[in-house]
Symmetry: C2
Subunit: 208 residues, 2 copies
């Protein structure tokens, strides 16, 4: 049994979808970020970073979305969530996940958690003001150079797809219309209709 | 033949060390960031992100440090740069690399490239002021919870080691004394003495 620590509207959604699509034996524990549950000692003992997602396995805890997605793909090879037998193709999947976690996710975080990098309220406000532009630049790059179509990696579905779906879902919060990026918008719509994604989203909107 | 696009004092150093330690057949092309060579059309055709590192392989280009390191490890298994046959251990390596690329590297970048997230000079200055504190918090976590010792993953050397060495080398620029983190400092010293690391550093200090 795997246990995923998650919270609504976080990048943990990508790992949740991957677990569901892999047919994994798992449960989800949802943390209440409004009550700052991710900073409680019980949770810090699981993930000292005080962030989600964290995946508890029988051998220990895995943190960081790219690592969790890779683990799910490697431990459920029949789900074909990554090209496990092709080092170059696997590197492309890793590169996309790295871009999302190291560039796009921080771009988003400047709009909602600027206090991580500045104390002065005016500086935090300035980051928030610019965040939609930085997110927009990221999605220009994704649309033009990364999203091969129909899936991120082309014909082969991979864990890049739920990861992109998750982060594309944050555009609206920056008042950015996903329709500006037609391939990304089409990808988002197709992902939204996937039965596993619908099951996961239904569980996310259910009461805690 | 692999070609690594690099620039001095960037995270590309980690990939360079890994190539050297893997015994890979490679060459390095150094971009002159002072001349903004990473934004020239010739380079954008290789990496549209305008960043380093980029690794040109016979099948195409790989970007993002965690992806390049994973590719080097998988395509040179005899170098044992990652636990390739153990999904859980491999996930731990990925998690560490993700933390460096998605949390520590952005923390550093706020000290030197704040313009990515704000236009107002006062906000950029405020990020720069706080950057050493954010970097310090990151290294507290690495020292206490991540660096198992003697290597990052414990007894087994992995590509996490040159990656940590690379980013720990940035502490001095934030006026942070690495001696505050004894395990990290010891790791840095041992890495500095590694013959492959010495060869790579010697090539970095040679004239372009």
């Amino acid at each position: 049994m795997l246990t995923l620590y998650s919270a609504p509207r976080t990048c943990a959604l990508a790992s949740h979808i991957a677990l569901e699509q892999a047919g994994a034996h798992y449960e989800v524990v949802r943390l209440d970020f409004r009550a700052n549950a991710q900073r409680e000692p019980d949770y810090l003992a699981i993930n000292p970073k005080g962030r989600v997602p964290a995946l508890v396995t029988e051998r220990g805890v895995i943190t960081e979305t790219p690592a969790i997605l890779t683990f799910i793909a490697q431990s459920h090879p029949q789900a074909r969530l990554a090209p496990l037998d092709d080092a170059f193709a696997f590197a492309q999947v890793q590169a996309f996940a790295s871009f999302l976690c190291a560039t796009v996710h921080p771009a988003h975080a400047h709009g909602v958690r600027g206090y991580r990098w500045a104390d002065d309220p005016a500086a935090i406000e300035e980051m928030k003001r610019k965040a939609p532009q930085v997110m927009s630049d990221c999605f220009d790059l994704i649309e033009r150079d990364m999203l091969a179509g129909p899936w991120v990696m082309g014909e082969a579905y991979s864990f890049c797809d739920p990861y992109l779906f998750t982060i594309a879902g944050w555009l609206e919060g920056h008042r950015l219309d996903i329709a500006r990026w037609p391939k990304t918008a089409d990808h988002f719509d197709r992902m939204s209709e996937n039965p596993a994604v619908r099951r996961v989203l239904a569980s996310h909107t259910a009461p805690v």
